[in-house]
């Protein structure tokens, strides 16, 4: 944390990548000869993100939530249907072809599967050197071999292996080759699409360490997509949680992990396996029922209401006691589960929680903790405790009182340490660092 704070301070809060109300939909076509558009799949729907120099933004969510589509839009493979992507303050859609070509060098991507991300018919030297062929002005032709060797060394590979082919390397080494290729054009931003999920747990730590070292060395910013919450907590400064193409909760790493407010985030966090055997028997895991709804036909109102445990609880409470019904907005019977009327009809927007949270590292940018839920600030006593790590929170009577509690650094630090993936996943991790 300490070294990352240094980078943030030098970088200040200059924004390298900004996404405003980004949407990407794919038409669904039917027909043999004349293809009619019969619907749209909203893969990403109105996402806004900000990535600052030298920082890491973790993007989590289950499969189908639009994380990878967002990544593809950011690196310029897909064109957004709505919204803006600003790189270094410049809108990508208004750029000329040449400018956009240059932009490709600013935002690069690291892929999930190291076995399909390298062309099997090209040697490692050719793979890492290809960016120089695509952008001949990046490195003069004479210096390319040296540049490739330098890149391989940077990612911890032997430069003498430039003549070997990808199949001769292990998964972790192949991922390093992928990182070297992305770094060849000297990008500011690396979009990492689940870069370690296909790797062996022992190798995950190595690659994560490599990414962190490169960030310190080169001042890179990462958009780190993952579904492993522990890995994200370890590497990310900020976290955004996506559900069905939208960001439902966003904020500083510590704020989201320790004080998750969206029922979906809480469910995700409660599903993280706890390495402590004594904690195993504690109740508290929230199991979401069913699959995410189809993005071709998203639910009305809040997109999460079809699977929301919190909404059901609130509805049950309001049915039991009519007095509470006014707060919950009244429950209505439908063919689906019983949820408050508001959840079914009104689409919640991302709202800032309470007072501005001073959660960033000292001197770091202020990252507001935002949640898109009608009942984010409603005190709830869940029948199934959603967050076993902070039982105090559940009984907290009102949101207003919480910020003081939240800002206690000792309180925050403790669970973060317990969750450190370096500790629980990779014993070798620390030895590498020292």
């Amino acid at each position: 944390m300490a070294e990352r704070a240094v980078v943030t301070r030098t970088g200040g809060d200059d924004v390298v990548l900004e996404v405003r109300d980004l949407a990407k939909s794919y038409p669904v076509r039917r027909g043999v000869l004349l293809k009619r558009t019969v619907g749209e799949v909203q893969a990403v729907d109105g996402v806004s993100l900000t990535l600052r120099r030298g920082r890491t933004l973790g993007l989590v969510g289950e499969s189908g939530s639009g994380k990878s589509t967002l990544a593809r839009v950011l690196v310029g493979i897909e064109k957004p249907t709505r919204g803006q992507v600003l790189v270094g303050g410049q809108d990508v859609s208004t750029m000329s072809r040449a400018e956009r070509r240059h932009l490709r060098r600013t935002v690069q991507m690291v892929f999930q599967d190291p076995y399909t991300s390298l062309n099997p018919r090209m040697s490692v030297g050719e793979i890492v050197g290809e960016p120089f062929r695509i952008h001949p002005d990046a490195v003069p032709a004479r210096g390319r071999r040296a540049a490739v060797a330098e890149l391989l060394e940077l990612v911890g590979l032997d430069p003498d292996h430039a003549n070997r082919y990808p199949h001769q390397f292990s998964g972790g080494q192949r991922q390093r080759i992928g990182v070297a290729r992305a770094l060849a054009v000297k990008p500011d931003v690396l979009v990492c699409d689940e870069p370690v999920s296909a790797l062996d747990v022992s190798v995950q730590g190595q690659v994560i360490n490599l990414l962190e070292d490169l960030q310190d060395e080169l001042g890179l910013s990462y958009l780190f997509i993952a579904h492993d919450l522990a890995v994200v907590q370890h590497i990310a400064d900020e976290v955004a949680v996506m559900y069905l193409g939208r960001v439902v909760e966003q904020g500083d790493d510590a704020a989201v992990y320790d004080d998750a407010r969206h029922p979906y985030t809480r469910a995700l966090l409660s599903a993280v396996p706890v390495p402590d055997p004594t904690a195993r028997d504690l109740p508290g895991e929230i199991v979401l029922e069913g699959d995410p709804p189809s993005p071709a036909d998203p639910p009305s109102g809040c997109r999460f209401h079809t699977r929301c445990w919190l909404a059901r609880q609130i509805a049950q409470q309001s049915l039991a006691g009519p007095g509470a019904g006014t707060e919950a907005g009244g429950a209505a019977e439908g063919d689906g589960p019983v949820v408050p009327e508001r959840c079914r009809t009104q689409d919640p927007v991302l709202v800032r929680l309470g007072a501005p949270a001073l959660v960033g590292a000292a001197g770091g940018p202020d990252v507001p903790h935002t949640v898109a839920c009608h009942f984010a600030t409603v005190p709830v006593v869940p029948q199934e405790p959603p967050d076993l790590r902070e039982p105090v929170d559940r009984s907290a009577p009102a949101d207003r009182q919480e910020p003081a509690d939240r800002q206690d650094p000792a309180d925050r630090q403790d669970p973060a340490d317990r969750q450190d993936p370096a500790d629980r996943q990779d014993p070798a991790d620390e030895s590498v660092r020292s």
Binding site: R72, V75, G76, I77, R101, R104, R105, Q108, M109, F111, Q112, D113, T116, S117, L118, N119, P120, R121, M122, S123, G125, E126, I127, G129, E130, P131, I134, H135, R145, G156, L157, D158, D160, H161, A162, N163, R164, Y165, H167, Q168, F169, S170, G172, Q173, G178, R181, A182, V185, S202, V203, Q206, N209, L210, A428, S431, V432
Partner: protein
């Protein structure tokens, strides 16, 4: 496992190669020339190519000077006037084989080369761009698959009946080459399109696009090399197919017609005499064809393996 051990593991086993930037092609060449089967296959192909280019070296007999009295002489062995015997018209089989190699081989290579170029290009474009490009290509493929070859050949024959195309060996095979190419490219297009659909969604293609690579570069460097596999398996058999199909066209009067000779015509004529006790009339031209195709199959397989670093 730590970084240090990972690096060590990577170093172990292979001596670091000093030779700088080797490519797949240079590596493939290095592997190929060490394999005995490749050398033999290449020699066979070279032998027939030489025969087609310089028929006079192998025989001094004119394949068209047929003495009817000498008909159906059995093979006499080398040194005799008719080493491979004569056919029912009294023509020398060896002279016919030697002189027939040129139109047969030229036609086969011309047709297959043109079909592969057309089919691979169209299949690649259709699979890569999809949408209307794919619609046009796929429907065209279907149309050509439906039209019978012989019908189309007859149509072309009548179209070009009064067109004089000359009498050189290239001119003779021009019409059959045109017909056979027109109806030979669809297979390649379909195979390549299918493999392109599979290859173009792989992450390394996305990576190249994210780097800003042009469509042409993505197609030629990343998609095609990984999608061409099925085509290499088709080519040798397609060559055999063309050589026999040419005989059918010759029967219709397109291309090589008697008294000019080709392997296809020899096979077609010879097959009538197999049961009559003159099997050699079929076996000599068929043997040449089989040898050529087998050599090509061996070459094609070796080439495909050599070009795939994973199989080395």
């Amino acid at each position: 496992m730590s970084d240090a051990t990972a690096a060590k593991e990577a170093t172990a086993g292979v001596v670091p190669d000093v030779a700088a930037s080797r490519t797949v092609v240079s590596d493939a060449w290095r592997t190929l020339r060490r394999r005995p089967d490749v050398v033999v296959a290449a020699l066979v192909i070279a032998f027939f190519a030489f025969m087609a280019a310089f028929p006079g070296v192998f025989t001094s007999t004119d394949p068209q000077s047929c003495i009817i009295g000498d008909s159906k002489i059995r093979p006499q062995g080398f040194g005799a006037p008719h080493p491979f015997g004569t056919d029912p018209h009294g023509c020398d089989v060896l002279a016919q084989l030697v002189h027939g190699s040129r139109p047969s081989l030229m036609l086969a290579f011309l047709v297959v080369a043109a079909s592969v170029v057309i089919g691979v290009t169209l299949g690649l474009l259709a699979g890569y761009y999809l949408r209307w490009v794919d619609a046009v290509v796929s429907r065209t493929v279907e149309v050509f698959l439906v039209v019978p070859l012989l019908l189309a050949a007859l149509l072309l024959l009548s179209l070009f009946r009064n067109v004089h195309v000359g009498s050189g060996s290239l001119d003779v095979i021009l019409l059959p080459a045109l017909v056979l190419t027109m109806f030979g490219w669809m297979g390649y297009a379909r195979y390549v399109r299918a493999s392109v659909l599979e290859a173009k969604n792989l992450d390394y293609v996305t990576a190249a696009k994210a780097l800003g690579a042009s469509d042409l570069r993505v197609m030629t460097r990343h998609v095609l090399p990984n999608a061409i596999g099925p085509v290499t398996a088709l080519v040798p058999t397609a060559i055999a197919g063309v050589i026999s199909a040419e005989a059918v066209l010759a029967f219709l009067g397109i291309g090589v017609r008697p008294p000019a000779i080709s392997w296809g015509i020899m096979i077609s004529n010879g097959s009538e005499w197999v049961t009559g006790g003159y099997a050699y009339l079929l076996l000599f031209p068929l043997g040449c064809l089989v040898l050529t195709v087998l050599a090509l199959v061996a070459l094609g397989d070796a080439l495909r393996d050599a070009l795939d670093p994973r199989l080395r």
